[in-house]
């Protein structure tokens, strides 16, 4: 049986792992190559890097990080952040990434997803979706796509958007609840389930993990195929192995060596 994947995520700013807690203070969480090495040893199923570097001068840093990690860590690597052209995709794949996550560029230029999947194959194109609940209390649940770190609404319905991205060839959806990101109160399970049920491809749940039970809930109630978390792993609150053992005890199929 296929295992549910645990994916630690590294937000990388100018070559350092950082993590904002509830959008404010950015805490330094170390050297990305060292952190990736540790996650690999702990049994991470994949590793995702999100490049949040603002300055274009430092954009090449992520390429070097990926190159270094890829030469010693032999599990799938995904890179996102600032991917706008097929040249950006190619650069990341050549550096050693296995998958590339497209976010904002998909919203402003949806055919870019089509172009990228035709050129490189669906298996390496992940579409990252940042969604926020827009329905009020008592209304049917509804989520919308937001850009710019959750500040700008687009008017796009999240479920329709996910279906459309899959029809354009997206091989996987990385779904982040902007309401939950950084809060540590758990995934938006309604959103996760709505998207996972709507598409044929795997869905990675992201945003809000604070406890190991949240990971279990994302898989069982949210029906996610994989769960992504950052801060609970960075500051050694839990190791990946602890997370997997807990999930296994709760009846989730995971990959545990020996």
């Amino acid at each position: 049986m296929l295992a549910k994947r645990i994916i630690p995520c590294l937000d990388v700013d100018a070559g350092r792992v950082v993590k904002g807690v509830k959008f404010v203070e950015i805490r330094d969480a170390g050297d990305p190559v060292e952190v990736a090495r540790r996650y690999n040893e702990e049994g991470a199923d994949e590793i995702t890097f999100l490049d949040i570097t603002a300055s274009s001068d430092d954009r090449d840093t992520i390429v070097h990080v990926v190159e270094q990690v890829a030469s010693e860590v032999f599990i799938p690597l995904t890179v996102g952040g600032g991917i706008r052209t097929t040249d950006d995709v190619r650069r990341m794949l050549n550096a050693g990434a296995d998958k590339v996550a497209i976010n904002t560029a998909a919203v402003f230029n949806p055919t870019f997803v089509q172009e990228a999947t035709e050129k490189f194959g669906s298996q390496c194109i992940v579409v990252a979706i940042d969604a926020k609940q827009v329905s009020g209390e008592g209304e049917p649940l509804k989520w919308e796509i937001f850009t710019h770190g959750g500040r700008k609404p687009t008017g796009l319905d999240a479920v329709d958007w996910a279906r459309r991205m899959v029809s354009y060839g997206a091989g996987e959806i990385l779904l982040t609840s902007m309401d939950r990101d950084g809060t540590k109160i758990g995934f938006d399970l309604g959103l996760t389930r709505a998207i996972s049920d709507a598409v044929t491809v795997p869905v990675i749940a992201s945003g809000g993990v604070g406890t190991l039970q949240h990971l279990v809930d994302g898989v069982i109630q949210g029906r996610a195929d994989a769960v992504l978390a950052a801060s609970i792993f960075h500051f050694a609150e839990y190791s990946i192995e602890e997370a997997k053992r807990y999930m296994m005890e709760q009846g989730v199929e995971v990959r545990l060596e020996s």
Partner: protein, 213 residues
Amino acid sequence: MSGTIAVIDYGMGNLRSVSKAVEQVAGRGYKVLVTDDPGQILSADRVVFPGQGAARDCMNAISEHHLNRAVLDAAHSKPFLGICMGLQVLMEFSRENDGTRLLGLLEGQVRRFPTGLEEQGQRLKIPQMGWNRVRQLRSHPLWEGIPDGSRFYFVHSFYVDPDDRDLITGTTEYGVTFTSVIARDNLFAAQFHPEKSAGVGLKLLQNFINWEC
């Protein structure tokens, strides 16, 4: 141990991870060449044949690079490791892209996972993406040191269905039981990605490099 290992490059998929992983386990005496030159493939001691993407694109790329003969010759004559599409294109025919004729080294077809498959009440996604168990149906030098039922990393929507059931060397469950590894003489080909399968994957690559067949 020494020699040349050719990783066949026909423009389908990212070969950097394959060559890096092979370099990682190969001793200093080995030279790893990423190449589309039929001459280099034919003179190499071992050949790795990776591949990603759609069946038709792969077949077109193999033809454009004039690699049909070199791939078939190598698959008959020296330690040969097919990975992912490098397994599928060895068959006769794929149902992908409304039907695609393949290299035809092995009799049998490539089928798509049926839609609506379920396991324990959960609808299965296509592609299958992630770590799944491989049951070793028979012993093989490439399984050495790898426990039966180990998990390897898969990304695929299609799987091979060889006519000769004796070729089936590994199977995996994904709503159906499918052939995840075939082997014959000097040929070993896997649907999963050893280069992305952490310790067990590197072990398999190491076994391939040490394989005397």
